[in-house]
């Protein structure tokens, strides 16, 4: 499949399955997603919606018993699914970087910071000397606002924010094209979080990064992302420009998510609470997976037919939503099908 030049990473019909005691569970179900060069794409969803599984699958990392069963991963013109594990290793760290959720546990406790960085560099650029790598590591760490001397520290001697910056430094060490940040700010306090997000934006411009920001915090997305993708029960339900999604969410789930965020200006008393809970993925509800919780549920359609993930009527190609409210004549489609 041909990719247009401004699309860096394209996920096509990706399905990831988990083997569990209760049978096969689809953690990611037929998801397609394009990431454009130089953008920050926010991927939001509740816990267990498959965000992290998607993120790891995009690097072809196994997450427990997860297995990619179908789909294509196009990265800069090549299909990652066709690469050998060796070629994939060469790609990881040099062109695809990942920042993990918990900076407390994502660094090797027995290795110094500088060793983490030089190891990444020397793995991919064996012709570099130790000194070159060390110098570059110090430079990088300094750029991220950590004092040069601190590279000799062990991870436990650093604060959470610093460690998370070290994780970013690992991704930047070899100028990764795409950084997949899996809930990078979840374990940071708000002030550190804000700083970290600012840094992320700066780095995007400076290093020409493309960032997939996976988070359950919709506020984080509002702050830094250019576009937003919303995931619910292993499927994408909406994707669009950040302003459009926040001002005029199309999917009822997105709407619910936005309403659940406390807002000090709109003093509406009790916080909105979405009814019900996410479905059990081992036996997802038929039709639209959100229908049991949806306030706009249409009896004749939603519980029966799975809505397509397509641009709504009259909107541009950039926006896509999986909801019968926005697709033409759901009844007709239903009857036709």
């Amino acid at each position: 499949m041909a990719t247009s030049s401004d699309i860096l990473y394209s996920v096509r019909n990706l399905t990831v399955e988990y083997e569990t005691r209760h049978g096969v569970v689809k953690g990611v179900d037929n998801v397609s997603l394009d990431i454009r060069r130089g953008e920050i794409l926010g991927l939001v969803g509740e816990s267990g919606s498959g965000k992290s599984t998607l993120g790891k699958a995009m690097m072809r990392l196994r997450n427990g018993s997860a297995r990619i069963t179908s789909g294509e991963l196009w990265f800069d013109g090549q299909n990652l699914m066709e690469l050998s594990e060796r070629q994939m290793r060469d790609l990881r760290g040099s062109r695809l970087g990942m920042v993990f959720q918990d900076p407390m546990t994502s660094l090797n406790p027995v290795q110094r910071i500088v060793e983490h960085l030089t190891e990444t560099m020397l793995t991919h650029e064996p012709e570099w000397t130790e000194e070159e790598a060390r110098a570059r590591a110090e430079e990088l760490v300094e750029r991220l606002g950590i004092r040069r001397e601190r590279v000799k520290d062990y991870p436990h001697q650093m604060s959470g924010g610093m460690r998370q910056r070290v994780m970013i430094a690992l991704a930047l060490a070899l100028n990764c094209d795409l950084v997949i940040a899996d809930e990078p700010t979840t374990s940071l306090d708000v002030i550190v979080e804000a700083k970290f997000l600012d840094l992320l934006k700066e780095l995007r411009d400076e290093f020409n990064l493309t960032i997939l920001l996976i988070t359950h915090n919709i506020g984080v997305v509002a702050e830094v992302a250019d576009r937003v993708a919303v995931m619910y029960a292993a499927k994408l339900v909406e994707i669009g420009d950040v302003n459009q999604v926040f001002e005029k969410p199309l999917h009822p789930y997105t709407e619910g998510l936005l309403k659940s965020v406390p807002n000090i200006e709109l003093d509406s008393g009790a916080l909105y609470k979405m009814e019900g809970s996410p479905p059990d993925l081992s036996s997802p509800p038929p039709g639209c997976r959100f229908h049991p919780r949806c306030p706009y549920m249409m009896e004749e359609v939603c519980p029966i037919y799975d809505p397509p993930f397509a641009p709504p009527e009259g909107a541009s190609e950039d926006t896509r939503v999986a909801c019968w409210l926005h697709h033409p004549h759901p009844q007709k489609v239903a009857i036709g099908a």
Binding site: M59, L61, R89, D90, L91, R92, G93, S94, L96, G97, M98, F100, Q101, D102, T105, S106, L107, N108, P109, V110, Q111, E119, T120, T123, H124, M167, L170
Partner: protein, 426 residues
């Protein structure tokens, strides 16, 4: 539910309440926490371990005799003065050893008279020793001979009287006989025993065994064998068990299953019996004992390392390492191994203790080590037939084993308590 009414007034500290609820032994164990006893455990046991290592490295500094030397009378109890045949001379005679009585062709008296007690075994000892010295003198071509003219008297007093009056140049009496009568003859002196040594109480601190070897010296030399077996067997087990555990834990799947079944069956086999079987097949030598014990303890390391690897493998930093493109070998070497090894170092110490016990058990059974080796297990085995008459033959090697094992176990357990925060609050 009926909750007991809580007494609000008594402000008993939490830990005292906790203590009151548990039994005596557990109370002791818990009390360690508050008195910092773990540090004492580690301090005391590491001093002990170091002392044992020094003794094992330089036994000659501590042992008065070699491990195989037959140096004294048989079955001498600890602290007992050896009842040696003493050479007794006039204090002003200038003689100090039996050799000084040797005569050349120019001397007036060719056969120096030596007084002994009639019927006492000392006469025989004197004759033997003199013949020995005479042979040596003849070989050395010095022209000197030692052919004592042995004169027998009926009482100890008469013997000593003869020396005092110059009838005899010297006398040979057992030390016990001499000590009884020595007070009456202040002019006499006992400069040495007839073999030339100077015997005194405490020469054989822990007594002697059935062939006249010094128990204390054998104990000291035995430390070397015990520690060699303990350390080498544990090291061999470690060097085989750790990599196997790492590979099995990391690879998982079939490899893991096959290896775990194999290791578990090895582990389930009664330890000493397996070691007996291996040494019986391989034949007696210290190397074979080490191999047998190492095989026994490989599963210990394997199981611990495999378990740790399984849990470390799940850590985010291993996943992160994969996400930066690290090779599996790099992940094993730089990420998993250093995080697994602390728990291994702790069991290593306890393992040495186990290996020493097993080694001693093997040699007690007469397997493994050549029978003349200075080894505690062998000493106990040899001493057991005399346990009713010579308690020291089995007691001291037994105590030595106990002390070494205690030191290594205490060190290991103490370190576990201190280093493992998960155990600390139990």
């Amino acid at each position: 539910m009926n909750l007991p009414v809580q007494d609000q007034e008594t402000a008993v500290p939490q830990w005292e309440e906790e203590l009151a609820r548990v039994g005596f032994v557990r109370r002791l164990l818990r009390a360690r926490k508050w008195y910092g006893a773990d540090w004492w455990f580690v301090a005391i046991s590491s001093v002990m371990v170091l002392a044992f290592i020094v003794v094992a490295l330089f036994p000659q500094w501590f042992a008065p005799y070699g491990p195989h030397e037959q140096v004294g009378p048989r079955f001498l109890a600890p602290g007992e003065t050896p009842d040696l045949p003493l050479l007794i001379v006039r204090a002003d005679s200038g003689l100090s050893t039996l050799e000084d009585l040797a005569t050349g062709p120019d001397d007036e008296v060719s056969r120096p008279p030596i007084a002994v007690l009639r019927g006492a075994p000392t006469a025989g000892a004197l004759r033997e020793q003199a013949a020995l010295l005479d042979d040596e003198l003849q070989e050395s071509d010095s022209g000197l001979r030692l052919r004592p003219n042995i004169r027998r008297y009926d009482t100890v007093e008469e013997v000593l009287q003869a020396v005092q009056e110059g009838e005899a140049f010297a006398a040979v009496l057992s030390s016990v006989q001499y000590e009884e009568a020595a007070g009456q003859f202040p002019d006499l002196d006992a400069p040495s025993d007839i073999s030339g040594g100077v015997a005194s109480a405490g020469d054989f601190l822990l007594g002697t065994n059935q062939i006249g070897q010094d128990v204390y010296s054998r104990l000291i030399w035995g430390t070397r064998v015990a520690l060699i077996i303990g350390f080498s067997a544990s090291l061999v087990a470690l060097f085989l068990g750790v990599p196997l555990g790492l590979v099995a834990g990391y690879a998982g799947g079939k490899i893991d299953r096959v290896m775990t079944v194999f290791m578990d069956s090895l582990y389930a086999f009664p330890g000493l019996i397996l070691a007996i079987a291996i040494t019986a097949v391989l034949g007696p030598s210290i190397l074979n004992v080490i191999i047998a014990i190492a095989v026994l303890y490989i599963p210990t390391y394997y199981r611990i390392v495999r378990g740790q690897t399984l849990s470390v493998k799940q850590e985010v930093y291993v996943e992160a390492a994969r996400s930066i493109g690290a090779k599996p070998s790099t992940i094993l070497r730089r990420y998993i191994y250093p995080n697994v090894i602390p728990s291994v170092s702790i069991i290593f110490s306890v393992n040495i203790a186990d290996a020493i016990i097993t080694g001693a058990g093997l040699s007690f059974l007469g397997l493994g080590l050549p029978p003349s080796t200075a080894d505690w297990g062998i000493d106990i085995a040899r001493g057991q037939e005399f346990i009713q008459t010579a308690w020291w033959l089995v007691t001291f090697p037994g105590l030595a084993i106990m002390l070494v094992v205690l030191a290594f176990t205490m060190l290991g357990e103490g370190l576990t308590e201190i280093l493992n925060p998960k155990l600390r609050d139990r």
